[in-house]
Amino acid sequence: MRWLRFAVGLLIALTLHSLLDSFFPNSLAFFNPYVILVVYYSMGGNVFGGIIAGVIAGLVQDAYSGAMFGLHAFALTVCAYAVAYINSRLALRGTLAFGGCLVGAVIVNELVIYILVNILLKQKVEMFEQGMIVKTIFTCLFGMIVYLLLALFLREEPIEATRRPTGW
């Protein structure tokens, strides 16, 4: 059931990705649905699952973006690990906590991409700071709205649905 939710979330993220690419090209420079998905899944505190979710979501994003294959997967895996690790100890819950995790995840994600691009391609990312701020704000806002809708729809704490099973 947890992975089914992740699969559905991944399809929705890819749909958003395609939609935005079709109607608002370059809009993914301001908003990243894959980060929302990975953070949502990782907040269950399942570090192992978070890593897998980060890899899969990142590879899908890589497959449909112009970046070198594995770049987003790398960044999202780091984010997923960090969020899952923190949540395995603190068990953050609620919309604000989700928003906070998203802010951190987006910043980490962007920093990792920035570093990797610099190392591997020796390219400078144009307007990195501005892009990161805008992306953080929009992704955080959108993610919090999605979280609230999920809470209304599931009638429970949405994160609980992604928690690792007892004994893992």
Binding site: T77, V78, L121
Partner: protein, 286 residues
Amino acid sequence: MAAPADVIPRRPTLLLIVVLGMLFFLMSISTRTRYIGETRTMFERSVMILFAPVPKTVNWIGQSLSDVYHGYLDMRRSVAENLQLHRQIDQLTTDNLRLRQSAGDLRRLRSLLGYSEQFTMMTTMAQPVMLDTSSRFKSIILDSGSNSGIEVNDAVVNASGLIGRVVLTTKDMAKVQLITDGNSSAGVLVDRTRRQGVLRGDGSTGAQLYDIISLADVREGDLIMTAGIDGIYPKGIPAGVVTKAEKGQELFKSITVRPSVDFGSIEEVIVLHTRKVPNDVVRYAP
């Protein structure tokens, strides 16, 4: 069985390191293949193929919605354009009718003008305002009279031929006796043989040619022209065509003439201010 708390982070950390190492390797391959021109690795292609239905479906839906939206817009534009074109067609049809009318008028007037230029005398253009061909007395009323120089006994013609003569004038109107009138007569000749005679109206739609002796050569289809011997009509105006020529009861032939003018379609006429024969010349008796 619950795992010890200090073990949980270690195994995922190891996994993380392995995964990140693999991803870094993947990125390196991807970077290298980009430099040699191959932009997709096999693994990347596999992921794309696996998830291809999603973007394809999104694209299809987006395209369909776009088609519907643009179809609706195109339809609205077509309807508006159709209405506008209908209005234009109506306008152009009206213009076309007016132009056709103008072209017809122009052609007719040119014909009249060319016809009138062959006469050396003064001419006046006039239009009939009344046409009476129903009774035995055939006449038309013109919209010009003595103010335009029209006098009694002026010949009236159009491009087709002889119409008649002016029998009455007012300042701004003139009455014309048609050659089909029962009291009308004109000196004419047969164009082919130059045989002269008198054309009199039959009070109906035609005329009779008199004073042509039985031996004269007159046939059906012969053109009848004014002879210029009656002091009213100048010489050489087409008056009609012989439709029937047969032997009469006495010395003369019985000849029926169809006027060259269709009196039912007269629109403009030319009044020829012919030179009148003075009365004292007419009545002079030696």
